[in-house]
């Protein structure tokens, strides 16, 4: 009798512990499903990336039924929209479930609705590219016009993102009502910021796509090209920072725990989140810094607005290295750099995000260079830009995502990563880093020599200058090959951790604050204030160009199919 009571008590306690400290199994299923889609997209997108690199180097020629531009469009959409989007929703939902004691049933349902909408959208978009009706690249700039179904597919993807965003808002608001006076756990604070940014960032591009659909159907004759580009980049750059903020969430929340340290400062981490939310959207304008139709004064003002986004990133760089030093010294690291050796270099959960962070130093510096008018003019339409975003997204973000997957997938599937798989994962990360160093390094260099982006292989009638690019393009292909091997490895490891790894418990690492940490101020929780400030800053950045583009609108352009 007594043992039955004890057993029942243990079971109840375990359930309660699971409820409040672990990710709910139903929520785990949702997140794992998102991860499955994400890594399948990575595999296909990565494979297409290699084909594209080989054609760009002049090694192969893609067949007419699936040419270079179809490959490029699919590679872009699958990797920057589906791999990252599905991953971040799966990760954030798992984290919200873990830190807030499970998703509300209606929020879980919203998660599944979001998943369905994103999958439908992806299938519709991909089908249009495959049949050759949408070789418009991932930026889908008009006047190049895809089939209207391509844009309709994108609407489904955006709707899926919105449903996921509101699911998190509902869950966080509910938790705050039930836990008066408490700060939302840092992870969920990040999730709130990320989804606010994503929701607001997608408003402009949604309007753009809703003008492109009737235009592509032929119901309207023309479209305002400059306005479309401006609305696209109000989203495009925000999306970049959404990925970045997602990666940063793991740097602040999980990495300190993994290395046996504590959070540097809870207040600083929250300040980074709301500063990025408030400042980010107008930063998109620097992508149009060489576009015609805007005055130099306006572009110069936007340089300041863009550079302001660098401020929270510098705060993060400081906090990360301070946290590493504290943790290393606690473990006995002595001297100026002795703490550095004490970090767990053989743990892939640390190595992957560390390389990601370190890469953000040159990647961020490149970004700051490109934000400047004159420097941007030198590199704007060259492979330098492609090299830049393969460093930011391809390393800083992707490697952090891999690092997350290596503990989150086994945590969700109730399995453990064996030392052998850890070693394999370290090789995967090293291979990825070397591959990207070749590829991105060559792209940066050849970009400075003027090699254009967004074009398939050409020697420009055997021009000496164009022929001089070839060795670098071969390096791009070499890097791409190493990257594909790494992609195959990471996909195999993730699915192994999902279905085949030994059963067991893996921790969801959540760092604690230092014992003597100052309390986090209450004002950090006033999201309504941050949102109002965000609206004010966006209006500062976008009212001038948008009014000009609408009121001084050019005649507009009919759709063109250039392929």
């Amino acid at each position: 009798m007594e043992s039955a009571v004890n057993q029942s008590f243990v079971q109840k306690t375990s359930e309660r512990t699971m409820k409040f400290l672990g990710t709910n199994p139903k929520d785990a299923k949702l997140s794992l499903t998102f991860f499955a889609v994400s890594f399948v997209a990575l595999l296909i997108g990565g494979f297409l990336g290699l084909l594209q690199g080989l054609e760009r180097a002049g090694v192969i020629t893609m067949p007419a039924w699936f040419d270079y531009y179809q490959t490029l469009t699919t590679h872009g959409i699958l990797l920057i929209l589906i791999f990252t989007g599905a991953f971040l929703i799966g990760y954030l939902y798992a984290g919200v479930s873990h830190t807030l004691g499970g998703l509300l049933p209606k929020v879980r349902k919203m998660g599944w609705i979001s998943f369905t909408l994103i999958v439908i959208g992806t299938v519709v978009v991909a089908s249009q590219i495959l049949i050759g009706e949408a070789s418009v690249l991932y930026t889908f700039y008009p006047p190049m016009a895809a089939s209207p179904w391509f844009y309709i597919g994108l609407v489904f993807v955006v709707l899926g993102i919105w449903v996921a965003a509101f699911g998190v808002f509902i869950n966080v608001a509910n938790w705050r009502k039930r836990n008066k006076g408490q700060h939302v756990p840092l992870f969920s604070y990040f999730a709130t910021g990320i989804f606010i940014l994503l929701f607001v960032g997608t408003l402009g591009v949604t309007y753009e796509v809703l003008t492109l659909i009737p235009w592509a159907f032929g119901w309207t004759d023309t479209v305002n090209v400059m306005l479309s580009r401006t609305l696209f980049w109000s989203f495009g750059h925000t999306l970049v920072n959404v990925w970045y903020l997602t990666a940063v969430s793991a740097w602040y929340v999980a990495v300190p725990r993994i290395i046996g340290g504590r959070q540097f400062s809870d207040t600083l981490a929250r300040a980074v989140v709301f500063l990025l939310v408030v400042l980010n959207v107008p930063g998109g304008f620097h992508h149009q810094i060489v576009d015609p139709g805007f005055s130099e004064g306006l572009k110069f003002m936007h340089v300041f607005m863009s550079l302001s986004i660098g401020f929270p990133s510098l705060m993060t760089a400081f906090a990360m290295f301070a946290m590493f030093e504290r943790a290393g010294r606690k473990k006995g690291g002595k001297g100026l750099l002795g703490w550095f050796k004490k970090l767990p270099w053989k743990d892939v959960r640390f190595l992957a995000p560390f390389i990601a962070m370190a890469t953000f130093i040159p990647a961020g510096a490149g970004g700051i260079a490109q934000t400047n008018f004159q420097l941007n003019q030198v590199v704007h339409n060259t492979l330098f830009i492609t090299g830049h975003f393969h460093l930011t997204v391809g390393v800083s973000v992707a490697l952090t995502f891999f690092g997350i997957a290596y503990w989150l997938v086994p945590h969700l599937s109730k399995r453990v990563m064996t030392p052998l798989v850890n070693k394999l994962a370290i090789w995967q990360v090293v291979l990825w880093t070397v591959g990207m160093a070749f590829m991105s390094g060559a792209m940066h260099t050849v970009g400075l020599f003027g090699a254009p982006r967004r074009t398939s292989f050409t020697t420009y009638n055997e021009s000496a200058q164009a022929l001089g690019w070839d060795p670098y393009l071969i390096l791009v292909a070499v890097g791409g090959t190493l990257l594909l091997v790494s992609v195959v490895m990471v996909v195999c490891i993730v699915f192994h951790l999902m279905f085949k790894a030994p059963k067991g418990e893996t921790e969801f690492p959540v760092a604690e604050v230092e014992d003597d940490a100052a309390p986090t101020p209450k004002w950090t929780e006033r999201w309504s204030v941050w949102i109002v400030l965000m609206i004010a800053v966006i209006s500062m950045g976008y009212v001038i160009p948008l009014v000009d583009l609408v009121m001084n609108a050019p005649p507009g352009s009919p759709p063109f199919k250039t392929w």
């Binding site: 705050r176 009502k177 003002m301 209450k522 204030v529 609206i535 209006s539 500062m540 009212v543």
Partner: protein
Amino acid sequence: MKQAKYGLILLLFLMVPPVIELSESIMSIHMHMQMPLLGIAGMLMVPYFKEKFPRFFEKWNANGIPGILLFMIIIIYWLFPRTMDEALTVPYVEVFKFISWPFLAGVPLRDSWGKLSERAKGIFLIVIGIIYTGMGFLYLFAEDQLCNNYLVIEQRALGWGFLFIALSILLYYAQDKLIDHSKYE
């Protein structure tokens, strides 16, 4: 003291000729960025002034009302299209802008804000919201060019800017009134 230094640096930065040139070349930047930034420079200097002249602030702005009235007078003055024009063409008016915004608008605003009752703050936000909405409509719908130095298209952009700022202020007021923060905090 640190804040005062930052305020002074900001003020000096805004006074550098190329910065003046840029910030006054576009109407919206002139009114919605340069002028508020001058105000912010003054706000940052408040702790220094209060430390140096505590009795002055206690005597002349005991309940915050004189300060907020001075702030309102200054910003309403700078809302007139003619004053913006004069700032560009009459050097004395330009000098007055660089003195009035930081020291007669920014300083009294920050000093008064902590002293005002919740009700007075609410009234202030509503009044500013309404004035900015009105200015927004004025600049959007005036058929004539209101400033000699700026084109009608810039006038329209400024109008939209006013409307968005008014929306932000009114949203801030609404969230403060409608959301019961005690439920969460």
